[in-house]
């Protein structure tokens, strides 16, 4: 039996970070999965949910249930969108929504917990800092197996901003801390945070790149 996964790319990655999803597809293929992309997909509804509009968020959630019917595992490069589908879909009621919620996986968790791989055969010869996601340790375990990668410590992510809430942009102090760490790349698992960091690095003319974990794992 072939192992199948369906990509949930998310609207933000689709439009602004396509390379992260392409890299994710490459890595999943490399570890032995048949990867499909269902082009009917759009958005999980998180943006409007966070703005307080439950009604449209649930409409988007119900649409996702239709799109991913019968798709098997649904894997996404966004920790936040994975959490939205996993937590908010069951609130909609109905077996189909709950069933989809149970098979949505954030990329790093999928690799570690379902595919059960940590070494995906990646090589990335750069010093990096990693932006952890709360409660997910798969990212670090996967990075630890990347050849040539030097993981530098950077404990304090205070001031990394938020996206839809736009409460504050990335703090200049955080950009300085990253620059002083000696890293050439920031690696993360949340596309929106990475986009904010990209913006902040560009604005302050720092030669640092923000990459999704999948982009690092895809390189060899």
């Amino acid at each position: 039996m072939t192992k199948r996964v369906s990509l949930f790319v998310t609207c933000v990655v689709d439009q602004l970070m396509p390379r992260a999803a392409l890299a994710m597809a490459d890595v999943l293929t490399r570890v032995g999965y048949d990867v499909e992309f269902r082009p009917a997909q759009t958005c999980c509804g998180r943006s409007v949910y966070e703005m307080g509009c439950r009604e449209q968020a649930q409409a988007a959630g119900a649409y996702c249930v239709d799109v991913f019917a019968g798709a098997g595992y649904v894997v996404t490069p966004s920790t936040a969108c994975a959490a939205t589908l996993r937590k908010r879909l069951p609130e909609q009621g109905g077996p189909a929504a709950a069933e989809l919620a149970g098979r949505v996986w954030e990329f790093s968790r999928f690799l570690v917990e379902i595919a059960r791989v940590e070494d995906v055969g990646a090589r990335f010869e750069h010093p990096v800092v990693f932006q952890d996601a709360e409660g997910l340790n798969g990212g670090r375990r996967l990075l630890a197996q990347v050849k040539g990668l030097r993981l530098l410590p950077l404990p304090d992510w205070a001031g990394s901003g938020s996206f839809w809430g736009r409460s504050e942009p990335v703090s200049p102090a955080l950009v300085d801390r990253i620059a002083e760490s000696g890293a050439s790349h920031v690696v993360g698992m949340e596309p929106e945070r990475l986009l904010l960091l990209r913006g902040a690095f560009a604005k302050r003319d720092r030669g640092i790149e923000a990459l999704h974990l999948a982009e690092v794992l895809a390189s060899r």
Partner: protein, 287 residues
């Protein structure tokens, strides 16, 4: 059992009692307690004291005071408590420090940061929000781990007494409202005053997974609380349009193409990709 959450809750519901006790204890030992409304009053008061002594003050005293006691709104927005929130002025004669905690029963001030050299300054001013008080000395043990690793811990129990080796000749404790009283008066929001800025919540991702707040603030409830106060207009055409578009993938793709550069500006992302993921996927003939 005393936990950070139960202690903070108890203090905030009995704040009048503990502030009175703190004032009595500190005053009995020769300290001076001053209640002030805002950081402006803090700076005014320091200027008066320094003028009496003939001590010069830096021109940016007000900005420096705002760093020590920014008021509760800025305080809650800030990062984890900065170590060594203190400054030394007038050639070491005057030290101004923000208190980590105040201990009511002992009439003591707990400072965290680099210790003062030698016998310390002649005049010590301690600035603290009125919520910083803890009932007893043993409560400090519950709270120090939250701010651990930030510097040495120092206790002041009044000015230097006859026969003592070190300590300031004069000790002022400035208790600042800074917007705390209105929060305290609001039962729904009072709990945010429990915050000691330990920084545990700052590691939370934007996906709303629960972070356990050490002082028991219901973090996930705060956005909802604020929304009830100022309900967002979510029935408007923009939301309906969004929902309409997001259920029509072709329309979504067209809108995405139109909006990508706008998104880029909004978030300051340098270069939008020439093609979306779906476009690339399609053109590469993948399934």
């Amino acid at each position: 059992m005393s936990t950070p959450a139960t202690v903070r809750h108890h203090v905030l519901t009995n704040l009048d009692h503990y502030l009175t006790e703190l004032e009595e204890q500190l005053t009995a030992k020769g300290g001076k307690v001053v209640y002030l409304r805002s950081v402006e009053e803090v700076a005014d008061s320091i200027e008066l004291l320094a003028r009496e002594k003939g001590w010069p003050l830096p021109a940016d005293l007000r900005q420096q005071m705002e760093r020590l006691e920014p008021g509760v709104a800025e305080y809650l927005l800030g990062g984890p408590r900065e170590a060594g929130g203190s400054l030394l002025l007038a050639a070491g004669e005057l030290r101004i420090a923000s208190a980590a905690y105040l201990i009511a029963e002992a009439g003591a001030v707990c400072l965290i940061g680099p210790p003062a050299d030698g016998a310390g300054p002649r005049m010590q001013i301690v600035v603290a929000g009125i919520d910083r008080v803890l009932p007893r000395m043993r409560d400090v043990a519950v709270f120090l781990p939250l701010l651990a690793g930030e510097g040495s811990v120092q206790f002041l129990t009044g000015p230097r007494r006859a026969g003592e080796w070190d300590g300031p000749e004069e000790l002022y404790v400035y208790l600042v409202d800074g917007g705390r009283i209105p929060l305290l008066a609001d039962p729904a929001k009072r709990d945010v005053l429990r915050c000691v800025r330990c920084g545990a919540c700052l590691s939370s991702p934007p996906d709303g997974s629960p972070v356990v707040c050490p002082v028991g603030i219901d973090l996930e409830n705060i956005p909802g609380l604020l929304r009830r106060e100022l309900p967002p207009e979510t029935s408007g055409w923009k939301y309906r349009l969004w929902g309409f578009v997001m259920r029509r993938p072709r329309l979504y793709e067209f809108a995405g193409r139109m909006l990508r550069s706008f998104w880029r500006e909004e978030w300051g992302v340098p270069e939008p990709p020439a093609k979306s993921f779906r476009q690339t996927w399609r053109e590469e003939g993948r399934k």
